[in-house]
């Protein structure tokens, strides 16, 4: 089912915060859109200066490095972020958009030639991995290894082992780039300067870590959810085909409704009263993007997909200083996917599906698919 219920509906009606038990600790989750945006802006009260503890659950077991620029507060955050912005802005270049179009066209043509295609492994993961090579400006062959890392580098399979494998791989890539520098992400970070000094290997690994882990499951899940939505709403495919101007708002609505990243953490450096909940210094709170995206004060009929929803002030790319660096990339991919599906496919039939459910003590949410086998009918 493409319908994804809102697990925070009841809690949001009761109050602004849901106290959730996660990893044996109580983490107050902020649920409303206005409150989430306000907290995301207030970095002095809700800090990101917390290596390996910004994601929830925390990633202390699966990585050794602080992620840059995610786990740094202003004002240093800005200087750290600037160093990689040129790469994350690459999807704005027409030539990179063309590469992404060609990649999706290639995958879609292959899928149309088959009776059935398994979207997660044969479409979404290859699409995300190859597209990332364009963003990082590295040899497209590297994607073959990244594909083997699955939906989520840390969560799927042995996260500890996969996490350390990825760190070693990145270390090797930085070393290779030392001896053979180019215009790629690794070479640029080797040469980059933060406050007149070179970056340490730990910092460089921290940038690479989030580049690989951050935009991975989120992009993969969104691709699956869009394809499943069109399978269940074939008229929407015709509508997008007839109205290409509707693709941008439709993409934003998919981002809002299927937000794959439930929430992100912040640490309170001081004792903080969060809407009546006392948070001790050093403890975490959560900015619940998924709940904020269904806030009925801002979204009429929030549990419905309305492809022409305007305005649509969702927070699927976060809010404030840390807003998602990969947002341009995600938008270019999803807009191209919607356009090419609507132009080339008349019908999608789901043959087999296994939901990917995220479960915490207090809620469970469908974020995507573990398996999604479909048949495409050409237009």
């Amino acid at each position: 089912m493409t319908h994804v219920p809102d697990p925070f509906k009841e809690a949001r009606e009761k109050g602004p915060v849901l106290n959730a038990e996660i990893q044996g600790k109580t983490i107050p989750m902020i649920l409303g859109l206005r409150d989430v945006r306000k907290a995301a802006k207030d970095w002095e009260t809700y800090s990101s200066d917390a290596p390996r503890r910004v994601p929830i659950p925390s990633e202390e077991d699966v990585r050794s490095v602080r992620q840059y620029p995610l786990e740094v507060d202003p004002p240093d955050h800005k200087a750290y972020r600037k160093l990689v912005e040129p790469f994350f802005n690459r999807p704005k270049l027409p030539e990179v958009q063309e590469q992404i179009d060609t990649l999706i066209s290639r995958l879609l043509t292959a899928a149309l030639e088959k009776d059935e295609v398994e979207i997660v492994r044969e479409f979404a993961i290859p699409l995300q991995s190859h597209a990332l090579t364009y963003l990082l400006n590295v040899d497209e062959k590297e994607a073959e290894l990244w594909i083997s890392w699955g939906i989520h580098v840390f969560k799927e399979g042995d996260g500890e082992q996969k996490g350390s494998f990825m760190e070693n791989y990145c270390r090797e890539m930085f070393k290779k780039a030392e001896t053979h520098p180019g215009d790629d992400f690794f070479s640029a970070l080797n040469q980059a300067k933060f406050k007149d000094r070179k970056l340490t290997m730990e910092e460089r690994l921290g940038y690479a870590n989030i580049a690989f882990a951050g935009g991975r499951d989120t992009i993969i899940n969104t691709i699956e959810n869009i394809i499943a939505y069109f399978a269940e709403n074939p008229k929407a495919l015709d509508c997008m085909n007839a109205h290409p101007e509707a693709i941008h708002p439709a993409a934003e609505e998919f981002f809002r409704f299927y937000m794959p990243l439930t929430h992100i953490g912040r640490v309170c450096p001081h004792n903080t009263n969060l809407h009546g909940t006392e948070v001790e210094a050093g403890e975490r709170i959560s900015l619940c993007w998924a709940a904020a995206n269904r806030d009925p004060e801002f979204f009429k009929d929030p549990d419905e997909v309305q492809l022409d929803r305007k305005p649509n002030p969702h927070v699927s790319f976060g809010f404030g200083a840390h807003n998602c660096l990969g947002a341009h990339h995600a938008r270019v991919i999803m807009r191209s996917l919607i356009r090419q599906l609507s132009q080339n496919v008349s019908k999608i039939q789901i043959r087999e599906e296994v939901d990917l459910i995220e479960t915490e003590a207090d809620f469970s949410r469908k974020v995507g698919y573990e398996l999604l086998r479909v048949s495409f009918t050409p237009r």
Partner: protein
């Protein structure tokens, strides 16, 4: 809009996936403003394209004061102020979210004397702007401003990036 072949007494107009019945009389009534064309998908459907003939329309001229201080005056067609800026490559207007009021990368300042004609921000827009460091009482998101002849002569200032 898209509808079925107008052979009977009514036409079915498809908008955003929903069908609405409208009478052929209505189609005739709007035919001055609409062009009926056979649908390209060859399903016997036709497309209704609403477009005012350009000869009847006065093109509004709108000036953008860019962040570097330079000004550019452009002729406005249909759509929003953000789309106009993007079509003309106005520096500082990014419109990352495509115009759905979620990203604030199309933030502009409207001169006081134009505020009435441009209109106020909706609550949702105000709420998005409230969190912008560069927000002023004259702030608007240009994706939420529809261009019309009434805006002829408007000068907007592109807000600096955060």
């Amino acid at each position: 809009m898209k509808g079925e072949s107008p052979g009977g007494s009514s036409a079915r107009i498809l908008k955003w996936g929903y069908f609405a019945e409208i009478s052929l009389e209505s189609v005739k009534l709007v035919s001055d403003l609409a062009i009926l064309s056979e649908d390209f998908t060859n399903t016997g459907e036709y497309t209704l394209v609403f477009s005012q003939p350009s000869t009847l329309r006065n093109m509004a001229k709108i000036t953008f004061k860019q962040i570097d201080g330079s000004s550019r005056t452009v002729e406005a067609g249909d759509g929003t102020l953000m789309e106009l800026a993007l079509d003309n490559g106005i520096d500082g207007i990014e419109g990352n979210c495509g115009g759905v009021c979620s990203c604030s990368t199309c933030h502009v300042y409207i001169p006081q004397e134009w505020m009435d004609r441009v209109g106020p921000a909706t609550n949702i827009e105000q709420d998005t702007l409230e969190f912008s460091e560069n927000a002023k009482s004259s702030s608007r998101l240009s994706c939420q401003i529809e261009v019309s002849d009434a805006l002829n002569g408007l000068v907007v200032e592109v807000a600096p990036h955060e």
